[in-house]
Amino acid sequence: MVPLLLGLIASGLSIYWAAPVFLHPRDAVTGSRDYLVDVGRAISNATRYTGDPRYWVYDHFGLGPRYLAGALRLHWALAYPFMLVGVLYVLGLALGGGWRALLPRRSDAGDALRMMRYYAGVIPMAVLRRPWPHPPMRFKYNALQRAAYFGMGVCGVLVVLSGWAMHKPVQLGWLERMFVNYDVARIVHFGCMLAFAGFIVPHVVLAIADGWDTVRSMVVGWSARVRKDAP
């Protein structure tokens, strides 16, 4: 899923930037009309970048400029496996009953606040060498994890639907209207991409920070830690 997503994001950004998005009146000195070209020049000057300074942003946040045809092919080549993996994930959740652990529940608001307070205090309390107990766990996931995993599921559905709404706005006109119009579907698609990117990095960092048992549990599917209140 993650490699597919990374490929989809890189090719998606190349598609998004096929026509420069952030424009200003043409600059007399540089001939540029594109804010991202200006940013690229500035960064290249500051870092002595050896590539084309105009395309710094496009080279680092996509597959590079002038690659629309290739990026589209790559996007379709990855999007179909992505949807397939998504269907397998949903099937697994449904058949194994794992979806129950992801459902938001009424106690989540308070639990989420307690978890935020805990996370905010972990590092200061470690520096101060004070005990800082983890809030009690009543379910498989804490409220923040549940919100994140549930939200990713929602994003997965939205990103696929908004993608189809943009890809076939005439044949799937009902879907385009569900997103109000083509432009809103584009914004939703882009927002989901940001949400995915914003999830993956902290997710992996936190899992590694939590220790070997958690990293192992991500790969093998079980944990050797048993909680005290387990029946």
Binding site: L74, A77, P169, Q171, A224, V226, A230, P231
Partner: protein, 328 residues
């Protein structure tokens, strides 16, 4: 070595194996003794199942962990190899340097991850996507229309330079491949006199991702087809524009392939007007195709020739790596 009873690890319930990527948050240290299990109360259907600990010999756990991590590593290696295979050469060369890129490319080609195979795979994805699009297509489906107040600015996305207005004086539309076997020539006044003008406000969607709502006027392609029917075996219209220029201003004729189904769609126009006025040069004066069931790149500007053909004619952007279907 015999296994001692304390050489066992307790793990959480096996049901977690259905979603192996989710981390299990657990915080309490292992209890010395297993508490007495209370009588299970009936659970609601949506309630989470309790995570019953199970006991498994430590050695078996270690073996399973080793196996799973080896599989995970193999998946990781396959992903990196797949990424190397699919990414464009320029991107890869920028990431690892030209020399290392060439060495790695040779290595990848040796195990079948060659450039030719990549092109085949990516073109296969494009064809598959076109097949899905064709399966979704229904000729009765109308394109969404808007109010005139919804109109947004329309970009001039002429590929290359926008031609000067000189060509307008001698412009004519030449049509061949007709059932009559003749070649017809039309001036814009002939067309406007002979056919009714239809108006529609539709969205033009560009392959680059931007779109614009515009108010178009023109004659229906289907009316034109009825008045000048194509040869009976014709399935395609090859539409060309001789006036297109490349970025340096040299002639660069543009051509698209349009299936007759699209041409017969009631909202497909041979457009003559934009925003209630005759088309400006930037938007394809005096006559352009408006096929709102297709991406903008099929909506050829300043068309000068239509040839009806039995086989699919060449398409400018298809020859440059894009889909030839381009249906919305």
């Amino acid at each position: 070595v015999t296994e001692e009873p304390e050489d066992r690890e307790r793990t959480t319930a096996p049901e977690e194996t259905v979603s192996p990527e989710e981390p299990v948050a657990a915080e309490a240290p292992e209890p010395a003794e297993e508490p007495v299990a209370p009588k299970p109360a009936p659970r609601a259907w949506v309630a989470e199942a309790p995570e019953d600990p199970i006991e498994i010999p430590r050695r078996r756990l270690a073996a399973q962990t080793r196996r799973d991590f080896l599989l995970f590593g193999a998946g990781l290696v396959a992903s990196v190899a797949g990424a190397w295979w699919l990414l464009p050469d320029r991107t890869k060369a920028r990431l690892v340097g030209r020399a290392a890129h060439d060495r790695l490319d040779t290595l990848a080609a040796r195990v079948g991850l060659s450039r030719a195979n990549r092109e085949r795979a990516l073109n296969g994805a494009l064809t598959f996507d076109d097949d899905v699009a064709e399966a979704l297509y229904s000729k009765n489906r109308r394109v969404r229309t808007y109010r005139r107040s919804d109109v947004t600015p329309l970009r001039n996305n002429y590929n290359g330079q926008t031609p000067g207005p000189e060509y307008l004086a001698t412009w004519s539309l030449q049509v061949s491949g007709l059932a009559s076997g003749t070649t017809e020539r039309f001036r814009i006044d002939d067309l406007l006199r002979r056919f009714d003008l239809h108006e529609e406000v539709t969205r033009l969607v560009c392959v680059e991702g931007w779109s614009a709502v515009a108010w178009w006027g023109g004659i229906r392609f289907v009316d034109f087809l009825a008045a000048f029917p194509p040869a009976p075996d014709a399935r395609w219209a090859a539409i060309r524009s001789a006036v297109n220029l490349d970025l340096a201003g040299r002639p660069d004729p543009y051509y698209v392939s349009i299936d007759l189904g699209t041409a017969q769609h009631p909202q497909t126009l041979l457009a003559t007007h934009l925003g209630g006025r005759p088309l400006p040069v930037a938007h394809g004066a005096p006559l352009r195709l408006l096929a709102p069931v297709k991406l903008g790149l099929k909506n050829i500007k300043a068309m000068t020739e239509i040839v009806y053909t039995a086989t699919e004619p060449p398409d400018y952007w298809n020859e440059r790596g894009y889909s030839k279907y381009d249906g919305l």
